[in-house]
């Protein structure tokens, strides 16, 4: 059975679909000339060799799986799979910047080969093997000397503006892209950026003046007659690249960014926790396709269990902790961890056209095992979510669960409970009772030298 991907409907050049669970891309008669130029020009080979674009194979009539049919003049290709889709509003700053640089570099490479990117959206980039990868083979079109870059405004609104907001206002402001799926409006950006940003001439031009010009020319009807030479276009892309490359995170500390430096663990108890977690994960059995680590902070435990899984989705609410996770993985050459920024009390929902274009976190991030370390007390005490609600939500993610329960005497719990009523529901009996309705406890161990326990649970059949 053939199912067109719900996000693949805008481009008349083709569409992504699944056939009996296998992913394909149909290239329409409209898209075929550009695709053939991409292949013949050597651009695809160059980008593919550099691991900048998702690789694919062409499906011939003789190699096509049964039931897969296409019209005359169309082509079918089978792209490599990206294991999990993570959207730009869930990325950390460094991944966002890398995706922007990849887009600009890909565009510069394309111009060298007589092509150009016809769109510049971060949804065309995904993380694969720890690196950003361009996934839209049909984003390329022939370049005609003199034409401006049609995706320029899209790049500004979808890459430059989110990066500026993350860099100069708050590192989690890429979450605005979940509201503005087609890019953050320039007027919004202008209102949010600190006033001193306008003193930077390149930001002034690309955001402030750009916003004014959009308004100014909104009612003009004629087609533009602006011409840019190839050299001018290349220089623009290079200067944009320089701007993006020069951006960094202004904020250096958040609530959880120094968790492991300011933790209440001694080195012995932390080592004991490492051992216990590893043993419990192994006792679930086998090699996992996916482990989901919720409240992963900088990914310390994700890295610990990563050899046991094809992929670890390492989620945390703190943008700087996720950024640190991304950097540590890159510097250690760890390629099977996908860091993402998620507020578990308000995870990404289904978004876009007909609410089907972008899947929710719960639809995309199902796993074989969920690990929740130093997590439950934040849900129950800080976010006021009852134990049974946390348990119920966790049943939606995986059949196996390893969860840590810090008791009321734990210093972090004491700190969180300080502002709460003395008879707050947070205690081990309430935790065990609520979780028992959804999970069966297989094993419970105390973490040596702490007031914390680890539970290994399996989901009950509902």
């Amino acid at each position: 059975m053939m199912t067109v991907h719900p996000a693949s409907f805008r481009d008349r050049a083709g569409a992504v679909f699944t056939h009996n669970g296998v992913l394909f891309r149909r290239i329409s008669v409209i898209g075929r000339p550009d695709y053939e130029f991409l292949m013949a020009s050597g651009l695809y080979q160059k980008l593919s060799d550099a691991d900048h674009i998702v690789s694919h194979v062409e499906v011939g009539q003789e190699t096509a799986p049964p039931g897969l049919e296409w019209s005359d003049g169309e082509l079918i290709i089978q792209p490599d799979l990206v294991s999990v889709l993570v959207y730009p509003y869930e990325w950390c700053f460094s991944q966002f910047r890398e995706a922007a640089l990849l887009t600009l570099d890909t565009c510069l490479d394309a111009i060298q080969s007589g092509m150009i990117l016809k769109d510049a959206t971060p949804f065309n980039v995904q993380l694969k093997s720890g690196r950003c990868l361009f996934i839209d083979t049909l984003s390329f079109t022939k370049y005609h000397e003199g034409e401006p870059w049609v995706a320029y405004r899209q790049f500004i609104q979808n890459f430059l503006v989110p990066l500026l907001l993350m860099s100069k206002v708050s590192p989690d402001l890429n979450s605005l892209l979940s509201v503005y799926l087609n890019g953050i409006p320039l007027n919004v950006a202008k209102a949010m950026l600190p006033r001193r940003s306008a003193l930077n001439p390149l930001i002034f031009l690309n955001v402030y003046l750009h916003a004014n010009y959009e308004t100014k020319f909104a009612d003009v009807r004629e087609k533009p007659r602006v011409k840019l030479s190839r050299a001018q276009l290349v220089n623009s892309l290079k200067l944009l690249r320089k701007m993006v490359e020069g951006l960094s995170l202004h904020q250096s500390k958040t609530t959880w960014s120094n968790y492991y430096q300011e933790t209440n663990y001694t080195s012995d108890s932390l080592a004991a926790k490492h051992q216990q977690v590893l043993r419990l994960v192994k006792s679930v059995g086998g090699k996992f396709d996916r482990i989901l680590d919720l409240g992963a902070n900088n990914g310390t435990f994700s890295r610990l269990v990563s050899p046991l899984a094809s992929m670890v989705i390492s989620a945390d609410i703190d943008p700087l902790a996720v950024d640190a996770n991304y950097h540590i993985n890159r510097s250690h050459g760890i390629t099977n961890i996908v860091p993402l920024r998620i507020d578990f009390t308000n995870p990404s929902t289904s978004l876009g056209w007909a609410c089907r274009e972008r899947d929710s976190f719960f639809a995309r991030c199902q796993a074989d095992l969920t690990i929740c370390l130093a997590f439950i007390h934040h849900m129950v005490i800080s976010a006021n979510v009852p134990f049974y609600e946390v348990a119920r939500a966790l049943t939606l993610l995986s059949p196996n669960l390893i969860i840590e329960f810090p008791d009321r005497g734990d210093s972090q719990v004491v700190r969180l409970l300080a502002q709460k009523p003395e008879n707050h529901e947070y205690n081990v009996e309430a935790f065990e009772q609520a979780f028992d309705a959804y999970f069966e406890t297989q094993e419970k161990v105390n973490v040596q030298g702490t007031k914390r326990s680890l539970y290994r649970m399996t989901r009950r059949q509902q």
Binding site: P148, F204, H210, V220, P224, R225, V226, S236
Partner: protein, 64 residues
């Protein structure tokens, strides 16, 4: 290249209001892109000129 130069260049270009008066909706962006292209080209041209000047001076000082 000094920021002052970019600001001056951009402002001079911005003043030419009528140049893009025929552009259709949304293509205020095209106007900005044209300005940015000139700024970018000037930036790299000046950068390369400065490098050549520095090289020339270092070559001259080497000769002495």
């Amino acid at each position: 290249m000094s920021n002052k130069f970019i600001v001056t260049g951009a402002l001079l270009l911005v003043i030419s209001d009528n140049a893009f008066a025929y552009i259709d909706p949304g293509t205020g962006s095209v106007a900005i892109q044209a300005i940015f292209a000139i700024v970018a080209s000037s930036y790299f041209w000046l950068g390369s000129a400065m490098t050549r000047i520095k090289l020339w001076f270092s070559y001259r000082s080497g000769e002495k």
